[in-house]
Symmetry: D2
Subunit: 347 residues, 4 copies
């Protein structure tokens, strides 16, 4: 088989590293280029010593990539930078397909983007064209797309849990509590990411103002046919990988908890990576660590008329690089699960 | 000063250990007896090697304690066993005062107790007499009591956050998400408490059926003058100590978020251990580790008309042994903060 | 390709779980049976929820396995039990090949076995026949064997580091300090394995009396042509997976640190899983987590005439289940690295 | 009692924070000034939210401190900066006593200092005057000193274990393996200190070139009456606090392991903070967390004629701020243990 040649932009971050890991295991992928501006010229092993055994190209700059030979691009760049570089890529003749993992193309509305990211979008046409890459829900559009915007990690977990239920709950009263491992904060040098500050501790952050809010509101609002707001409180907990969302919802339209279960069971019956657990079994991040799987479940709340919907993913895989590969598979007509079959790592 | 001679029952559990730690630092306490049935005869250092430098009595059985010499008892026994042993203590002439850290005397209603704990209460008169030991809210009764039932760790954090707000929120629609370190599960040998199962992982537990629910409902219901139910979902996270509750509430009776802040500020203005943080500062367990302090704060929710109230404690101190000492101080007419002045340990 | 049908005995322990994980990714393996006496009848997912997405047989007892259909057995049983069950397997007509991960067949000398394990060996003929499964050093014998005894985790790391150097160092003065994650202690319910006891802490154990000592002494003694003893001190550190050995050696026979480097470079030039790091780069467990790789390096000691040889592995993979698969590959004439190509998981 | 007024220089690092914590509990100390150049003007709570309940001065610059009112200075500044600022302090009339926690005054020999720290010492007279602050061994000199150089964390643990044994072992063949929590690396923003890099991992560092080497060699060489070198390999492990040294020594001069035990027992019989554990009990960092205690023990090695001496401390307390307070107590004629009586925090 002729392999598909990929470039990973932003290859020195954790998302980039996990893309490399998954791409190495993918039978149809050849890693043709790794770009990391500030590490350009270094070997991949100098940046990521855990790839000691792999054959990988050296880190390069975006501009030195041999673009005509690239079939697909995975963008792991910071927002803002991402839209500019991807716009230049699409200006080339016969551009590669692009799977963007940044936030730049997730929000459809330019004003919402500008309000949350503090600057107007610099690639409005592409923003309008981009397909939101929540694979299980937008597979047909993704398969046709040349630019896919992969969801944020929290929206991935929350939307997998809630999107199938929108008609059976009150969409205006969704409360989402979320817990994330520290890789969600990336590799940036901030005091709050030091081991000494994070270990043996927990705290909420981004209260009332997290950028994943408008993303969830866009998708849930589309499904509900309404403008809505979600209550969302993420917490940082002392682990590397993993994300768990515990959502509290009001049942609506006569729906029961059993109805919610049935909706999820039906919706994900054929999904290779989303698993409704047996009744009563609580989702746990250790069920999915290192894998592209999502486990979820529904429980009656103690307050009558309410339910809890809980989902767990690995934020770096289903919440980021794994879902990116899953979208890549669809975009290139490959089996959806190709290269993503690894079982979770536990303990 | 003549010291007050205490006995700690259940001295081989983590709560017992933290009581020993705090009692060693208390200028008015003499540790006269440590009871731990299965470790009786062992030195305290054999059970707790971290007390290498302390002078402590050997572990004993409850029956071998020289009861007439004991002024106060701290009960750290499992529920069920606790009520029986404490009943026998009160059958003695001139019994000591008792601070019970078990669940046995927290619920006022015998039927509620029986329903949640699976057996009728064996000491109904004492159950009726016991005072609920949330120090900041029931100090006067505690000061007069001879039997105080210390609150559970989750109720302590949740009630400190919510009790002053009951008239300003809808008490029927309180959603409490909680995160706890593993000491909350005690020292029992369960697979789910192994390092390998807990580390690098998070999961909810006790969904819809946690025994701290009726305790919170009793106290909130009393304050609201209504029968109510709370939505409560605890999660186990990979740290030793610490507990954080993130509650989502509906504003009511025209109250604003600023009103909630003002209510908390007023209520805890003179409380030595409960601290309303500056506006916008998120509570974090690292602010209280190892100490009897509670930090809390209020935030506007993104959904209009709702607010987030967040509190953090050390589950073994303010959530257990520290609050027990605080109650002891009141019961013996000592300054409320005596022996509890240690600053948090960070990192 | 006709798949090789395997049975995993002791499938409810961590070693069993990692064998399942690796076997699921192995293109030539079919998992035909999982035995776990106390969990017999349960689904694999009930025992290991992280295999939610896999097709696996239910847990069974050893006796109910359809033995004539089994081609290979992986034994993850406790020592003692292992030798008895494996002896019965070899009593069958046309027995399967056996890869044993227990300690039962590692020590060649029956008296040494009896002295360290407290009872005489119950399968002396098999003990004599078994091949020691340190793949990189005994590949030819392993390829011919019908019973392979996989090394302990500490011996794997220490012997990979030291065996090639025996002629260049004083084999009577080897000091091995080792650090291990908690999975090395298995899934057993001991107080010392609780999260609360292990987290935020470190301690040495098995001082002067660890059962991996005679195993290292046997292999190093064979290579040195001498009876010898090693100084070995393992420490338990708060992580799940990973093992690091820091050995201090006296140079001998005129050898230099550069000679040690050259010996390792030559010895492992073609080894797919053992990697001599660039000069000056310290081995770290994060370089190998979840993979079958070993990274090692040599450093001059500050005391003249001495050197440090340091190696890191994942104790559950190269130190256990991964090496077992590697041996299986040789025993069945498959490529040595088949099914083990997964890159490490970092972070 | 008239309190002693102290200034803490470098109050925004972890060592500074732990000094504040301990000073708050010290009955004879008044915290008069906190200096942190880059945080000057901020409240102590803004820098250290865990001191929410404490009365503390705002962060200031060194130059704005009201020096004539200061009785004692604790220096927690980086090496290099420390010597310059302390020299200026001693240029003042009636200077305060200084307890320096930096490396600047630990090495007596100017050439050794220059070789290891890359620049000549800028305060040679003070360097010659400074007393090495290993309290248990140099108490008399410390009591007379106006400048004490507190030992590094590793030297503290290693020297407490080894100094009493120097005549009974071969001082030229000491192998020290050490494990440290991440607070040992301070609060600096380095990639290697991120949670994601440290958690679930271990690695050695500073191999062959750690600055604590010459410090240990100076003290051991003094005691042995010889020039010597030590083998020392520190490892970073995923915990906040704690340090464990496992030393391997050759017995000499006819000494036995029992002799080593006796030497330690005699030497520390009256030491309030150094505890020889019962025979066979392994030191563990959980025995000392948050406290000024050191636990140690001796074991026979498996190689005849050798022994293992193992010690554990909390690197931030006995290895840093606690020992500084202990020295302060001696310098001001206070009881050695004043303010340091807190029992360890476990779990």
């Amino acid at each position: 088989m002729q392999k598909i040649r990929i470039a990973i932009l932003g290859a020195s971050g954790y998302t980039g590293a996990d893309l490399i890991r998954l791409a190495l295991a993918h039978p149809a992928i050849e890693i043709a280029a790794l770009a990391a501006e500030r590490k350009a010229g270094q070997s991949a092993q100098a940046v990521w010593p855990h790839f000691q055994a792999a054959q990988l190209p050296d880190m390069a700059t975006v501009d030195t990539i041999d673009w005509p030979t690239i079939d697909a691009v995975f963008g792991c760049l910071p927002h803002g930078a991402s839209q500019q570089i991807i716009a230049r890529i699409f200006d080339r003749p016969a551009p590669p397909k692009v799977i963007d993992l940044s936030a730049d193309f997730r929000l459809r509305d330019p004003e919402t983007y500008a309000a949350w990211y503090g600057a107007p979008h610099a690639a409005l046409t592409l923003q309008a064209e981009a397909v939101y890459g929540l694979t299980e829900h937008f597979a047909e559009d993704i398969a046709q797309a040349r630019l896919v915007a992969c969801p944020g990690c929290y929206p991935t977990a929350a939307l997998l849990a809630l999107l199938p239920l929108v008609q059976a709950i009150d969409p205006q009263r969704i409360v989402i509590n979320a817990l994330s491992g520290v890789t969600g904060a990336g590799r940036s040098l901030k005091e709050t990411n030091l081991f000494t500050e994070v270990a043996e501790a927990v705290h909420p952050y981004g209260i009332g103002s997290h950028r994943h809010m408008p993303e969830m509101e866009q998708a849930l609002g589309d499904a509900a046919g309404a403008v809505l707001r979600v209550s969302f409180t993420p917490h940082l907990i002392p682990m590397n990988r993993g994300e768990l969302v515990t959502t509290s919802v009001d049942l609506a339209n006569g729906a029961t908890v059993a109805d919610l279960r049935a909706l999820l069971a039906t919706r994900y019956a054929d999904a290779p990576f989303v698993h409704l657990l047996p009744e009563g079994v609580a989702p746990a991040t250790r069920m999915v660590r290192g894998s592209n799987h999502c486990v979820l479940n529904v429980f009656p709340d103690r307050i009558p008329g309410r339910a809890l919907v809980i989902a767990a993913i690995d934020n770096l895989v289903k919440g980021s690089s794994g879902q990116a590969i899953q979208n890549f598979n669809l975009m290139f007509g490959l089996p959806e699960a190709m290269g993503l079959e690894q079982a979770p790592l536990f303990p």
